[in-house]
């Protein structure tokens, strides 16, 4: 069993294997690598310094290998793909991948939400609409990926972090930008032309789209270069403006996501950014791009929240369950400032503190549970959590009251028998 998701950084085979020399340099410089600290032992061959001219030539060759192959943008009315082409094989594998996804337990099968996502994507895709299919996958990470066959995968962790339709439209537009530019084909050709063929084959042998464990292999195809990401950002912003959305929301989403990325423990494998690394540079660029342009003002937070309302508690639950509390704490602090779902955001903040259980967390949890139960739409589990915390602190009378209230509000609670045994 693996804990959490493999890191995108770890899995970005392309970045790692763009050149063995770069890889070697990074390893040698890495303080965490034991071999970097170990002095050469007797008998260990010491590499001779390379002469400068051959070294430059070698670097030039490696850089050539790293260059992304150029491909033409996809046509809105795509012609039948030549069966012998690279793209035909890749699309065939992606089609197989997509058909496996249709059976995955991680696929979110909420008809209204899927319809909402498809309609929004269609508006953004314009003439490309018939070629694109959106699939929502239950994964508590910030990610969306566009396959070369028109398969657009959105993870629920992304929808949890999005605050309105304008932000979602930017992300979808960005992915459509990758599709139109055929970035994954270029990436595939690059993988095949360098020493990363094994990674590419692993990807195609993969499957298991919903599993966090497969993220590593899958994300290899989507580890686009900075220029490709910038171009996709520009495409997303263009679509945002075309539909009258406020394009400043894109930079705000990236700023929020960057705040989470900053507190990520680099030693741990898990990241919420599966294939799209957050960075200050990207946030600033998006913010800058939105300045001085006559853009729309539509944000559309209400329709967005109406569409995701039925699923959002599950996603918050998944977010707590991934047990990366430093990031979750930043996320929930932001969500609690939103003028909606206040009871849920307070409740899940309390759950996070209760489960983290560091010094002082139980008190913070009690405070947040109490904030949650002030709202009429608080879930019954808020009283349960409050009772569990009070019980931990030995405040048994208060705990009994809270747990009794929980049972009264949740007559079919799955843990009723245990709590009743405590109350007796």
């Amino acid at each position: 069993m693996t804990e959490g998701a493999p890191a995108a950084n770890d899995a970005r085979g392309g970045r790692r294997a763009c050149g063995a020399a770069l890889d070697f340099n990074r390893r040698a410089g890495a303080k965490s690598a034991p071999q970097a600290r170990r002095p050469p032992t007797a008998g260990t061959p010491v590499p001779c310094p390379l002469p400068r001219a051959p070294l430059l030539l070698l670097l030039a060759l490696l850089l050539t290998a790293c260059a992304t192959p150029r491909v033409d943008p996809v046509s809105p009315i795509s012609a039948a793909t030549d069966a012998a082409s690279d793209e035909a094989g890749l699309i065939m594998q992606m089609d197989r991948y997509e058909s496996e996804l249709m059976h995955s337990a991680a696929l979110v099968r909420d008809p209204a939400l899927n319809r909402y996502l498809s309609e929004l994507t269609c508006k953004l895709a314009g003439d490309h609409c018939p070629q694109i299919r959106v699939h929502l996958v239950r994964q508590p990470y910030f990610n969306a990926q566009m396959g070369p066959n028109g398969m657009l995968i959105v993870w629920t962790g992304l929808l949890l972090r999005v605050e309105d339709e304008a932000q979602l439209a930017f992300v979808l537009g960005h992915e459509i930008g990758h599709y139109v530019a055929r970035d994954s084909l270029a990436r595939w050709q690059k993988l095949k032309s360098t020493s990363n063929l094994a990674a590419a084959l692993q990807l195609l042998g993969g499957g298991l789209i919903g599993a966090a464990a497969s993220m590593g292999a899958y994300s290899t195809l989507y580890a686009f270069g900075r220029e490709q990401e910038r171009a996709a950002d520009d495409y997303g912003l263009q679509q945002l403006r075309r539909l009258g959305y406020d394009d400043r929301r894109a930079g705000e989403l990236w700023a929020a996501v960057w705040e989470e990325e900053k507190v990520r423990d680099r030693e741990l494998l898990s990241s919420i950014f599966a294939t799209h690394p957050a960075s200050e540079e990207r946030r600033d660029r998006l913010r800058q791009a939105a300045q001085g342009i006559d853009t729309g003002t539509m944000v559309a937070a209400d329709p967005y929240f109406a569409a995701v309302a039925g699923q959002r508690r599950l996603w918050l639950d998944d977010e707590i369950g991934r047990r990366h509390y430093r990031q979750t704490e930043v996320l929930l602090k932001r969500l609690r400032a939103l003028p909606r779902a206040a009871a849920d955001h307070a409740y899940y903040t309390a759950e996070m503190y209760r489960r983290r259980a560091r010094s002082g967390d139980t008190e913070l949890a009690i405070e947040a549970y109490r904030a949650a139960i002030e709202h009429a739409d608080a879930v019954p589990e808020a009283w349960r959590g409050l009772g569990l915390c009070l019980r931990q602190l030995g405040r048994d009378d208060e705990a009994r009251d809270a747990l009794g209230e929980y049972l009264a509000r949740a007559p079919k609670a799955e843990d009723r028998a245990i709590i009743e045994s405590w109350l007796r």
Partner: protein, 219 residues
């Protein structure tokens, strides 16, 4: 689960290499003597026997300190503190028996990456409900979807008060599983039995057997 499979340890490899020198290019190949051949044969049999999974026979058993009774036989694919009993293979039926998980250890003894790793660690003083949450989170973290615990109720395990629950989850391939859980963490360490099987056919087939094992621990 990061522990090495005890079946495949390279025990005795040194003896094997001595019996058959690796230097194939030697012009004077050394044929094993009769004594060496017998020794090698005996050793191979011993190794083969070590690599077979022990059969748990029906009746009373003491498993890592837990005194239980099983009405049917099982193959044990696990090791001390982390047993994996199965009849038809772990994906079709698996009774996992974890004992003496210490505070700070991962609930499934998965590898944790340092102090900062906030994986599903056991803590002393957790209530039954919190232990149930931890096991659910450990299962989720292994890539399973829609993991739920139902019908939690008090039960005892080896004389200590704990709880039972039913579990449900889906694999990434979309196969639905059900499970039974008996756990206790009252003495500052965590022990639990977790039975999992596909909901279709296998779960119900062995349910009564597993419940009778759980019942045998309710002393």
């Amino acid at each position: 689960m990061s522990r090495p499979d005890p079946c495949c340890s390279p025990c005795g490899s040194d003896l094997v290499s001595r019996a058959f020198p690796k230097n194939k290019s030697s012009r004077h190949k050394v044929a094993p003597t009769g004594a060496a051949r017998r020794c090698l044969l005996g050793l191979s049999l011993a190794l083969l026997s070590a690599c077979s999974s022990p059969l748990i026979k029906p009746g009373a058993q003491t498993v890592d300190g837990l005194a239980l009774r099983t009405p049917q036989s099982w193959s044990d694919l696990g090791f001390r503190g982390q047993r994996l009993w199965t009849r038809d293979g772990a994906s079709l039926n698996a009774l996992r028996i974890y004992t003496d998980i210490q505070p700070g250890e991962h609930v499934f003894r998965a590898r944790l990456r340092g102090e900062q790793d906030e994986g599903a660690r056991f803590r002393a003083g957790l209530s039954s409900i919190e232990i149930g949450e931890l096991i659910v989170e450990g299962l989720r973290a292994s890539g399973l979807s829609n993991v739920v615990a139902r019908d939690l109720r008090p039960a005892s395990l080896n004389g200590r008060s704990g709880f039972r629950a039913e579990l449900g989850f889906d694999t990434s391939a979309g196969l639905h599983y059900r499970g039974l859980l008996l756990a206790e963490g009252n003495d500052g360490t965590l022990s639990f039995l977790l039975y999992t099987a596909p909901a279709e056919f296998y779960f119900e087939r062995d349910r009564a057997t597993v419940e009778s094992i759980f019942d045998s621990l309710a002393r």
